[in-house]
């Protein structure tokens, strides 16, 4: 549609109609999850469609009341926050090194990390389980954090690499002439300019560490379990306690939902990075 041409109102209405329909398709299942978490088992077990029901927080009370919930939540938060911080620090440094220096081995580092970006986690789970068992990293939060840092580094490095390339090197040189050391140059000049990249990278890393459950399932035990693993264990052979599991699912979904609403633009930058310029 060329700019400046006024479109027919009916066309605009159809446009909005289609967008609203798509938005409903995207959001309805998520809303349903939250709605189910507010229902009692008896309400869930009635068949048919019921839009009106008396919401109850009983499922949340049950889930939160279980002694181990707090431990799982703490584990998830520790793993999410610590992996994100370490990934950002190491990723920033590596991206800066790759962007600003030409050195022997640079291309190997670049290509290997680009290929590591797409490793299937199931493939990683088997040998990591074996190695972590031998070196005592199994069932420890550090073992999980180390792995999450490693799988998130490639994406973080390449996202930030793109941002750092756009920082004019003259700015850094000017700051260096003014007497700033390399660390101060990085803090005062580079860091403020790559903030959108840092936001996107931290959201993506936190989201993986917070949401991931196959590696966590394999590498943790009762004491170090994260929330998604705890949720998966609610599914038993006898059946699914829908109310409780949906309450837990909703609680797990809340942080990513908040991030999405706060920083949708940065997330889209991250999603389209590498393929679309602009």
């Amino acid at each position: 549609m060329s700019i400046g041409v006024k479109r027919h109102p009916a066309l605009v209405a159809a446009h909005y109609g289609a967008l609203i329909f798509l938005a409903i398709v995207c959001v309805a299942p998520i809303v349903l999850m939250f709605a189910t978490s507010l229902k009692l088992q008896t309400q869930i077990f009635t068949t048919g469609i019921h839009f009106i029901f008396t919401p109850t927080l009983q499922n949340y009370r049950d889930v939160l009341g279980e002694g181990s919930f707090q431990r799982y939540l703490t584990n998830s938060l520790i793993v999410g926050v610590v992996s994100t911080i370490i990934t950002l620090v190491l990723g920033c440094m590596a991206a800066y090194g790759l962007a600003r220096f030409r050195f022997p081995g640079r291309k190997s580092v670049a290509y290997i990390s680009l290929l590591l970006r797409t490793v299937p986690l199931a493939v990683l789970a088997v040998p990591v389980f074996m190695i972590w068992s031998q070196v005592g990293l199994i069932n420890s939060l550090w073992g999980l954090i180390l792995l999450y840092v490693a799988v998130n580094l490639p994406f973080t490095i390449w996202l930030l690499y793109g941002f750092i390339l756009q920082v004019p090197q003259e700015l850094e040189e000017a700051a260096a002439i003014d007497g700033c050391g390399p660390i101060k140059v990085f803090y005062k000049v580079v860091l403020p300019l790559i903030k959108p990249g840092l936001a996107a990278a931290s959201i993506f890393t936190f989201r993986i560490a917070w949401n991931e459950f196959i590696l966590a399932l394999v590498l943790t035990d009762r004491a170090t379990r994260t929330l998604p693993v705890a949720a998966s264990l609610y599914i038993t052979d006898i059946g699914v306690d829908w109310g409780k599991i949906m309450a837990l699912g909703s609680l797990i979904a809340i942080p990513p939902l908040i991030f999405t609403f706060v920083a949708a633009r940065q997330i889209i930058t991250g999603l389209t990075a590498g393929a679309v310029k602009g």
Partner: protein
């Protein structure tokens, strides 16, 4: 100003070390593990060298072939459906409207929430007794279907969930790409008498071909990596009708406890994904602007 040779490694070293220890080394040991027969819980010294046995057995195992076929069909159907839907919707809805930012935010929600939540929600939607889907078709008088209890419908179910989750990705990529198309070129085409159809297929789409290709590859790679949603939704069942390769690897390793066998299949999956990634790299290489050095 000459920098000492070790300076770049001060920056890149720590990240390289972590990736080497927690990604590269495990992948290489998966390769090694494929040559051994080792049971979980026993010391590594008791592992038996079996040579190419595990690889040969993997290639002769009908379960592996079935899983490979399931994976290929799943990937093909999902990716084609997502690309067609995503591109069509983007072409139809690319025009600038107020509030597009809000819509885009809502569209990325399915890929932001935890796979476990996605799996649970769809498992509930497809539930035979009180799932919303059966309630909906019940309105039209249809008998309830045991979606996740029959092989064909279970396969459809995992595809629907994937399409729901990832079509928005294609849509967002395409909207971003189309927004970058030079308006002057389109204007010129229009002046030359091109209709909507010609402008779209002869001018617009060719200009975003690179993005289409890279999006297609990203979706393909991800379709081969999917695990968690299907783990929750069907756990590969009924039978092994939805047992994609990642899930087959997981089950071989941690349910049947055959780590060597799992490692051998892992190598197969890794080769597939690595070759796709290699193509992706050729299309969208962050180093490509540098010239040869």
């Amino acid at each position: 100003m000459r920098t000492p040779r070790w300076v770049p490694w001060v920056y890149a070293g720590p990240a390289v070390l972590v990736m080497a220890v927690a990604c590269l080394y495990p992948l290489l040991s998966a390769l090694q593990l494929g040559f051994y027969d080792w049971s979980m819980g026993t010391p590594w010294s008791e592992a038996k060298w079996v040579g190419m046995d595990a690889f040969l057995r993997a290639f002769q195992d009908p379960a592996v072939w079935r899983s490979l076929v399931t994976t290929l069909m799943f990937a093909a159907v999902c990716v084609v459906a997502e690309m067609v839907l995503g591109i069509a919707l983007a072409l139809a809805l690319e025009g600038k409207v107020r509030g597009m930012a809000v819509f885009r935010t809502l569209f990325i929600l399915p890929m932001m929430i935890a796979p476990i939540a996605v799996g649970l929600t769809w498992r509930y939607l497809f539930d035979a007794q009180f799932g919303l889907l059966n309630a909906l078709i019940g309105l039209f008088g249809a008998a309830p279907i045991g979606w996740l209890a029959q092989e064909h419908t279970a396969f459809i179910a995992i595809i629907i969930a994937d399409i729901w989750q990832w079509t928005p990705f294609v849509f967002i990529m395409m909207i971003a790409a189309l927004a970058n198309v030079d308006g002057a070129v389109l204007e010129a085409a229009r002046v030359d008498g091109a209709n909507w159809w010609q402008a779209t297929f002869r001018v617009k789409l060719p200009m975003v071909m690179n993005v289409i290709a890279i999006t297609l590859l990203m979706r393909l790679i991800d379709a081969f990596r999917v695990l968690e949603v299907i783990y929750i939704l069907t756990f590969g069942g009924p039978g092994d009708s939805t047992e994609i390769l990642s899930l087959h690897i997981y089950k071989t390793a941690f349910v049947s406890q055959r780590l060597g066998g799992a490692a051998a299949i892992s190598v197969l999956l890794l080769v597939v994904v690595a070759s796709l990634s290699w193509f992706a790299l050729r299309l969208s290489n962050p180093l490509k602007d540098e010239g040869r050095s």
